[in-house]
Subunit: 378 residues, 2 copies
Amino acid sequence: MVKTRLMTPGPVEIPPDTLLEMARPIFHHRTPRFRKVAQDLAEGLKYVFQTTSDAIMLASSGTGGMEASVVNVLAPGEKAIFVRGGKFGERWGELCECFGAKGIALDVAPGESVDPLAVKDALEKHPDAKAVYTTLCETSTGALTDIRAIGEIVREHRALLVVDGISGAGAVELRCDAWGVDILVVGSQKALMVPPGLAVAIVSPKAWEVIERCPSPRYYFDLRAARKKLKDFDTPFTPGITLMTGLAKSVEAIRAEGIENVWRRHHVLAEAMRAAVRAMNLRIFPRVPADALTAVVAPQGIEASKLVAKLEKEHGITVAAGQEELKNKIWRVAHMGYVDSTDILAVVAATEAALKSLGHSLALGAGVSAAQGVLAAK
Amino acid sequence: MVKTRLMTPGPVEIPPDTLLEMARPIFHHRTPRFRKVAQDLAEGLKYVFQTTSDAIMLASSGTGGMEASVVNVLAPGEKAIFVRGGKFGERWGELCECFGAKGIALDVAPGESVDPLAVKDALEKHPDAKAVYTTLCETSTGALTDIRAIGEIVREHRALLVVDGISGAGAVELRCDAWGVDILVVGSQKALMVPPGLAVAIVSPKAWEVIERCPSPRYYFDLRAARKKLKDFDTPFTPGITLMTGLAKSVEAIRAEGIENVWRRHHVLAEAMRAAVRAMNLRIFPRVPADALTAVVAPQGIEASKLVAKLEKEHGITVAAGQEELKNKIWRVAHMGYVDSTDILAVVAATEAALKSLGHSLALGAGVSAAQGVLAAK
């Protein structure tokens, strides 16, 4: 008997209480009962993302929220700067191109994080850029972007700061208002601990001004229509009712723990994981790792996919290999959402055993004791 | 103690087995386990909708599927004919307008169904129309469209036949291939008996030819990208994993009952409901009612909202009032998906009691015995 443990960077494990909440009989969405859920969410999400801006719910996966952030902001021919540090940064560029906007790419080597000064330079070179599109945590490499520093720069310009926080938001520190985030996109299946199928968009007053004037065609992802309905805690189209009741449960849990405690927990778990990685004679892939997941460089002679398969088969632990050109070079262990310190010890211990049997040179227990050391000190 | 009974035209009640299936621990979507679910669905949905065409899954509500049927087919400036017989037919017109296409409206009075010959005339008048957009069952009025007859006409033209089957498909007879349906859009929360958040698009070879050549910008709803991934039972973006496992359960149930038996069950239940309505001295609103729901005209002096509130409060039964200008004029009882004959007897009996206490003249038991008569004869 081997238990299953999901440690991929989305979807993540869902608390059993949330699964049971979503298994309750469904109810209609044009009712006071639904409006109460929508209202609790609209308020709770503001707390989670530290903002007084509107929280819009979209029945789509995170990419739908990204599309909404492009088609509501950019008209064909208009310019936007985007950070391209991996698969998800690249998606901003694809969206700009698809809808006829001019995307100015700030290329960042895989595993690197963008230098905020490069954003400053780009904005000075392109003062007509309507937005800067960034990725809080580039899930494909595990790298963290310094949104706070970028926010200080962007707020001096007319451009909007748009953040793909699909991975990371709700796990790592992010203060939308204090940091000047104009649009934040989040997916339900990461730190928010519900299944995929819902996107959240936090939209600032500065962003609404642009959105209300933007002439680009949009219907399903029209944020103006969503805003109108939000006043009555309603939605323009049928909402993802059960996912929203699940999300309300997650938001309740985050409120109970306290958002700063949630960030701190993720930081401590990530520090423990990173100490373990180093103690196993391994290297962390990103230069500035996000606390939501750890991307580890596969040691010489061991393909990442071999380790991933072994963890799955022998330990029931699902982690993710790299994507595309990083496929066999890294593996990625998520520790966001419903994860505690014992989960970290378990995955480290299993990784030690798997690596040893694949021929990697390490002292069994070294990773675990390094992690224990970090956890004990906090 | 009053039990809750959901009889709205979407969402509908979800079988407890499906709720429990979706409450199982989540798993990752880039795995053989997910591909098995996706493959079963891709094949099962073909059976449900009687087609050999591709079944594409979109993580969105039904309107997202409607948008996909517009942005993948029409380029700005191109012409399309659409049937406007209520709120949902109107949505086709809004989508055409939004994305710059020329929508030619075939207006149909509320409660009426379009005359197929009107579609023929429109196609002859507008031979350059790229598509005819229709609604299988106009949920706002309960009217059924004769898709079979329209299909015979449209197949003689180059135009595609697009059917919004969000309500109705899976409940009433619909044979995509035999009837010449090129694109069928279905939502998960109606006859498919899962929560909202998934759309299905059935796409014919004739439609793929148009879609592959269509120059309109689209990203999240790009059916070409979905088709490419479908070959490996994968999706371009994170799919609605739990909703898909739930849907697989529904498809399994429909296969076990047999699609023709499912249609027959819905027909018998609808006939029983309609006999009861007449026996209660009430009038059915649509001239050609769909078997998915029954829209009833509120009797003189009784506002529909009063009856809806009474059914909810005293009997725990949620039905829907009319929408917009039909708000107080009709109420709508859905009997699609997870509904059996005893549900019909219960809602009829409760309606009799509620109407009587609101002052409507009827013989208690008259509706129930009419329904029983229909059920016994089948």
